[in-house]
Amino acid sequence: MIIATRKQLEVIKEMVKGYRKVLNVGCGGCTSVCLAGGQKEIDDLCTQLTVSLKGDQIVFESAGFTVERQCEPHFLEELDEIVKPYDALLSMGCGAGVQFLAERYPNKPVFPALDTVFIGVNKNIGWYEERCKSCGDCVLGLTGGICPNAMCAKGLLNGPCGGPQDDRCEVDNEVSCAWVKIYERLKAQGRLGDIMKVQPAREWQDQVQGTLVLEAYRDRYAKKEK
């Protein structure tokens, strides 16, 4: 899931302090699960902002409203009437949610209260680890389910760099070398041959916004364009 963390209060204050009434929009999806942008976090931030700005003698009102998912337009419909009296919106969704809000309400400033940090897993309550870089070219089938892109500090695709010390990454020795882990996993599965399959250099230059329309739905949208 998408993992996000809340920005520092001072940073958020700086964004919204010029607006008298701000609606803080939460998200019931990923950012709720990672305890960054759900109903509780909304309530906490509204309180902190109001108290802090009041202390700075700044007139400020905020209210919170959580939608199920900010990344789906039909869940934003209920906001249409609610946003009207507000001067600006503060989103506690991920980067995608912030942009969807901004797109839906182009005449209202929309500010991100969170930093979207990675696609990751939930190790335990409050503990999240990155696992995926959404590179669009998954090689997990060849690396025993360990992503060399996300787990190797250098993103190497064809084995370790020669720098690991005691199986630790030379970039950060708090972290295991991903390729040592890949080797051990493949060895345990009897698939060491996969490690010898050379991967070509990754194409990084295509950074244009991605769009995916599932084949089963292409006719539906093609008809609408006509």
Partner: protein, 136 residues
Amino acid sequence: MPGRGSKSVDTDQIKALLKKNKRSMKLRLAACAGCTLCAESCFLFRKKGKDPQYMPSYKVLNTLGRLYRKNGKVSRAELERMRDLLWKNCMLCERCYCAIGVDLPKMIAFARRILRSQGIEGIYPHSLGAPEGEDG
């Protein structure tokens, strides 16, 4: 709105929300024939030993349906039970379908909204529960 940890229920607020979508929601609730065809479309129902409490129709009828039947006059305990049905028993993955076109996810989302208005929000099974010391 009752705050987090509050024991009270703002019935007027619930009634106002119910009234807002009364026509469309009551039509959907009335349309439910209890055919249980929606059950097979719910992956949680299929994975949880076909426990009827995971059936989309069950979830909707025992949350939103109950709220409309009682015109919002529910106790805090009833809302807490609804929370489990709406969040623990449902991911709002929107995979569920109804043979006659009742919009089940929309009804779940609306019921969740009503509970949030009372300071009640979900326990997410995949996040291993709420932080210690906090309720849900």
